[in-house]
């Protein structure tokens, strides 16, 4: 049980580091948005799942499950809202120069 939670924590650390590297190093707004949002959603969901595994079957787990459900719905929606705002703003996607 404890090793499974540690595995989920390691997955969360890996995706968080990847998302931050993408957020700091990517050349354009849309690439930064893609890297940071997908990686942060995956890392936060795996950290919440690890927290549920640690606490076992208790009222704590139910509340964390409610937060997880809301976050799994709201995070991709907010990413879509930012992307639509940037697209209507007229930000041109980055292309590699030949």
């Amino acid at each position: 049980m404890n090793y499974l939670a540690a595995l989920f924590f390691v997955v969360g650390i890996f995706f968080a580091v990847t998302g931050h590297i993408g957020l700091l190093r990517a050349p354009d707004f849309f690439t930064r948005l893609q890297a940071s949002s997908t990686c942060s959603t995956t890392s936060v969901l795996s950290i919440l799942v690890a927290s549920m595994i640690i606490s076992g079957l208790s009222p704590f787990t139910g509340r964390v499950a409610a937060i997880t459900l809301f976050f799994a719905i709201s995070s991709p929606v907010s990413t879509h809202i930012i992307a639509r705002y940037a697209w209507e703003e007229g930000i041109v996607p980055w292309r590699r120069l030949k």
């Binding site: 969360g12 650390i13 890392s43 606490s55 709201s74 907010s78 940037a86």
Partner: protein, 86 residues
């Protein structure tokens, strides 16, 4: 022990996310970094609740999730409306 290390890691990664909020060239970059930092603060609050053994921080995390989403919606509405009125 594991939870303390994870809390320290999340605090450091929130600091790294704040760098993009400071140096972001456009408003959309700052919104992206704000979304990232907000989602990591939710995970941080859940881990603090786990460490303290009480469920009070979980209510804070739930309210933070809801109001972070609504705040993002309000920010994009405000920025779009400012563009149309010009």
């Amino acid at each position: 022990m594991m939870i303390e290390w994870m809390i320290a890691f999340l605090l450091g990664s929130c600091l790294v996310g704040l760098v993009r909020i400071v140096i972001g060239p456009s408003a959309a970059d700052r919104l992206t970094a704000l979304n990232l930092v907000g989602s990591q603060v939710i995970a941080l609050l859940v881990l603090i609740a786990q460490r303290a053994g009480s469920t009070q921080y979980l209510d804070v995390a739930m309210v933070y999730a809801v109001f972070g989403f609504l705040g993002l919606l309000a920010f994009t509405r405000y920025l779009s409306g400012r563009r149309k009125s010009d």
